[in-house]
Symmetry: C2
Subunit: 161 residues, 2 copies
Amino acid sequence: MTMKHNTIVFSIIVATGMLLIFGCHKSTCSKISVNENSIKAVILAKEYAVLTRWYNGDPMGFIENSWDDVTYFDPSLISRIDSINAFRKILEPIKGLIHIPSHKMDKTQVSIFGEIAILTFTDVFSAGNKTARWHATEIYLQRGNDWKLIHSHWTESKVQY
Amino acid sequence: MTMKHNTIVFSIIVATGMLLIFGCHKSTCSKISVNENSIKAVILAKEYAVLTRWYNGDPMGFIENSWDDVTYFDPSLISRIDSINAFRKILEPIKGLIHIPSHKMDKTQVSIFGEIAILTFTDVFSAGNKTARWHATEIYLQRGNDWKLIHSHWTESKVQY
């Protein structure tokens, strides 16, 4: 190959790289969009599976779905839980205690920003003669090919109806 | 310049770009670390300023510190607040109502993942003869040169001491 040829080939490689990094052709954009939708589907499926286990007395789905450096808040805590070991410690005592036949993830929203996906929703279920509503902020982080929780925050709604 | 010269200059530009995108020289890494620390400082200062206004009867600091598509949870809500207009609507009625002389942001942690910064802490203050503790997850998103809230979640701790 000549120097001119080398320069042209090199320019094409760089231009393609720049296109991938800074912009996208219509077909590339569609691929990104399809990819975003598949990430959203994966995250919703993961959360649903964890909650199904939770309502059947098995809280450990949350541990399997969390990174080692996960942090966690709920109204029963005096301050933030830092690390998966501390998270495991508060979940173990409730093994086998919760049995709720059905629940609904209401108003789910997943927003993706690079390696972070923010899932928010309100989980709704019947508890005795009232309807309980728990607001959830589940922040998933991608490491390698997997998405797991890096932070989780749950709040019970005080609104009764 | 000759074609050879052009190619060399072009290669240096591309190599520098690749270094910035995919890796870093020791001095570059230090700059990234310094930059991360300055982002953390900016976010903590923003949150502290908003809370200082909040405890002095001015909740509108939250509006100025939020993007238009902010979402929000607290225990008083039946479901998630979507958009700054809906957020403004729930904050306006409490203008002038809250007067707390001092508070403390306890156990602050800021984690940065690209354009997302996750600030978590427990805000502690005296309310009558008890100590109130509110857990906060404040997710900041960078757009242009500014960082503002894209999602906010607050929970009152039930632990009394």
